[in-house]
Amino acid sequence: MTPYPARGWIYSFEERDGDEGDGQGFASSHPFWRRIVDFFFLVPVFWVNFIETHGHPLVSAGYGAILVLLLVGEIHVYRELRSTLRCQPFEVCLIRLAICLSGSVFGAVATYFANHTLGLGAVIAASLVGLLGACTPALLRHKNANLLPLLIYCGAFIGMSSMQVLDRLSAVAQAGLVAGFIFWLTQYVYEGFGGKLGTIAFGAVLLTTLLLGVVYL
């Protein structure tokens, strides 16, 4: 069990590691509507494209099947979440926030630079920056440095954006800041889920472009 207090600065969920609680935990502390809202928030690309797609009947059937699987998977994730949310002291939160913000901004700016200025292309640029990020915990011997590879790779996804979406480095850095903040808020949610970083990056890019008035949805 972690030494952190049951009620802390960010999260106020009462269950901790190894604490079974009432067997319902996080799932029972959140109303049903909250789960539904989160589910729809998670898959904006899917919904927008689902509405505008007019394809083959097989494609529509595929969409239907995937929707059912998504719903089942989502319910399972919320059941698993109940023991992962826990509280941390204020100083640890601040250190992790600093790591999140710096890592994602570095990853985003470096990838964007390598992609557009050096002309390496999105795939090679993101891979190189990700590989560089994977080496950082060995260089920085801090106990929270294991977050950096994830954050740098998350930032790298932002740097894969085209110039029509993010047209200058300052916008990329802003998107990196947003992504770092979102990651910090959601660091114990969807742990180990493939695609979590990309979803955070997408949300950050979308939010930044909306804030900057680049796109009109």
Partner: protein, 154 residues
Amino acid sequence: MDVELSFVMAATSVAAVLSTYYVNHNLKQGPVKASAITSLVVGVVVAVLLAKGWLVFDYLEVVAVVFIGASFAAMASKGIVESFGLIVFAGLVFGFLFTNLGTRFNGYGGGLGTKACLSVLAAVGLKRLLIGAESLRRRGRGSQAGGLRPDLGK
């Protein structure tokens, strides 16, 4: 529906998830390094093929993009996706989504990762359905063998 494109996307996605999952879990390189290394290799190979003109293929440029997108799905931990079968299913779903989703969010960073997240979520949903079906089947066997439903026997 372009059958050739769908096949190429599905094959690329499956190759990406299998290689990344293997490097991640079997070679124990971690998710970031696994995805980055495999994508870098494919990205460099595709760039060289394009530059030299050694392979003329309509969808060659898209292959690298699909590969890195599918590799994001294979960054999942073993607690979420524990078997190669499930990760292959996630790869197939990714290929389907990549081929058939609209183009509104093309060029947005993170779009590939969002599709990868959807495919992993679909794989988790399939896993839960299979586990549920298995438990139902076992319950049915138990009631046949015992003559009574387990809960009625208590």
